[in-house]
């Protein structure tokens, strides 16, 4: 953990936080959940808000060469992610890019699985709609998005690393997701069977395309 904190500081990516404290808990939960949903090594995975490749260290190792694709808005994570993979001695090919505009089509791939861990928690309602719009285009038929969220009573803002203003959404209730389900012709399921509770207590849901 302390090595990961050092790397965050060296790459000017962040001060010590829950990221490092929950590194293994979250990474293992993500991996376990996707496997339970049917992900195998041949599948292609889109990791939305991949951070400094915390889950990447698990997923890149597991998936076949080149099947991991990560997107992130916080630029310092790009280089930090490379250094963390070096630290974990992971040398498989992967793709990661900084993206602020849901430009997932530029990968030129169709994905079997997508994961958005603590990402919807930092998106406005409009952005969630945009996310589904673009995922509808890049996910394979029957592809699955696994995501976590919090159903706040009101929106509040996050000042990420005192650099990035972000808005957390509110009223992410069943009616909200059912409306999206109808709009994008997808299948929404809250708390899918068989998954462990999320380590932070966030709600967990899937969308099948």
């Amino acid at each position: 953990m302390f090595k990961i904190i050092d790397l965050h500081l060296e790459e000017e990516a962040g001060v010590p936080s829950n990221r490092e404290l929950m590194w293994e808990d979250l990474g293992e939960w993500q991996m376990d959940s996707l496997k339970k949903m049917g992900m195998d090594s041949k599948h292609k995975l889109l990791d939305i808000g991949c951070g400094p490749l915390r889950f990447g260290t698990y997923a890149i190792s597991y998936l076949d060469e080149g099947n991991y694709f990560g997107v992130e808005v916080w630029e310092p994570y790009l280089k930090l992610g490379r250094r963390i993979l070096e630290e974990f001695e992971i040398s498989k090919n992967y793709t990661m890019k900084i993206d602020r505009g849901f430009d997932y089509e530029s990968f030129g791939e169709k994905f079997d699985f997508a994961i958005a861990q603590s990402v919807v928690t930092h998106m406005s309602v409009r952005q969630i709609d945009e996310l589904l719009d673009v995922l509808k285009k890049v996910m394979k038929p029957d592809g699955i998005l696994l995501f976590t969220f919090i159903n706040n009573r009101f929106p509040y803002s996050v000042y990420y690393e005192m650099e990035e203003p972000m808005i957390t959404p509110c009223k992410l209730d069943n009616a909200f997701f059912q409306a999206l389900e109808k709009k994008y012709q997808v299948e929404y399921r809250k708390y899918p069977e068989g998954l462990e509770r999320h380590p932070t207590g966030q709600a967990v849901a899937t969308i099948k395309f």
Binding site: I5, D6, L9, E10, V15, S17, L21, M162
Partner: protein, 268 residues
């Protein structure tokens, strides 16, 4: 790094990361000293006000103990150790309206600290029940052994996981000088490499210097002594305190003592 002081406390991006590496990185010291954070006229003012002029019962209530002491609109408190001469003043920013200079200085330090921690400055300056809020504290230690037992705060050994926060730093604003105003161990801090440092002597700390240090490193004050003609070890700290919903239970005895003292002063 440009001179950082209570009038000029905004760090640029490079400075922020330089400071963070010194404090948090395993190869860093775990602390950073801002020499001359306060000009002499301000340290003189604070020492004069808090150590010489103030009659605490006129401005502060007796400290009822940490549980439920701090709530929105709570008063300032003081604690007085009759045998050791220890005085502690708890000065919530909303309550300490009688000493505006202390408030201004406290705000500059809380702001500087928030930049280092990467947390929003406004997060912990207003009291919100259930959350933490900084309550600046002024401490005068005159004599004592094991003044502050070795311990760490917000570290991985916190019994309540909610209290673990490895980004937390504390700030000590030194207002008196070791071997002139007091003697003894002074503030002893364990660096990131595990070595101990006797801060005042080894860093040449003078009144007005600000030490920012990693809260989850072990720190202690083993002994302090001062003569009658010395002011003692005077410093300001900025602990984030838990805010409760309503006034705590100040005991009837304490309330009575306070009322009697106030009446006596009016009569005399």
């Amino acid at each position: 790094m440009k001179s950082i002081n209570h009038r000029n406390f905004c760090l640029n991006k490079k400075e922020v990361w330089d400071v963070r590496r010194k404090i948090y990185h395993s190869q860093g010291e775990g602390f950073l000293l801002f020499k001359g954070f306060l000009e002499k006229k301000f340290t003189d003012h604070l020492v004069n006000y808090w150590c010489r002029l103030l009659d605490p019962p006129q401005t502060h209530l007796l400290f009822p103990g940490k549980e439920h002491a701090f709530y929105p609109g709570c008063p300032c408190y003081y604690k007085h150790g009759r045998t050791t001469g220890l005085k502690v003043f708890y000065n919530p920013l909303w309550g300490n309206q009688h000493e505006v200079v202390s408030n201004e200085i406290a705000v500059s330090i809380i702001h500087l600290r928030s930049q280092i921690e990467g947390k929003a400055f406004t997060r912990e300056i207003s009291p919100r029940p259930g959350q933490r809020c900084v309550v600046p504290r002024l401490i005068i230690t005159r004599n004592g052994e094991n003044v502050l037992a070795p311990h760490s705060d917000y570290g991985l050994d916190e019994p309540n996981p909610r209290n673990i926060d490895l980004a937390r730093v504390q700030a000590t604003l030194f207002l008196s000088q070791i071997d002139k105003d007091y003697s003894g161990s002074g503030f002893v801090f364990t660096k990131n490499n595990g070595d101990k440092i006797h801060c005042e002597r080894e860093l040449g700390i003078e009144p007005g210097d600000l030490l920012i240090w990693r809260y989850n490193n072990v720190h202690e004050i083993s002994d302090i002594s001062s003569r009658e003609d010395q002011v003692g070890f005077v410093r300001m700290l900025f602990p984030p305190e838990e805010i409760s919903h309503k006034a705590g239970s100040i005991s009837i005895i304490e309330k009575t003592k306070y009322l009697l003292r106030s009446m006596k002063r009016k009569l005399v």
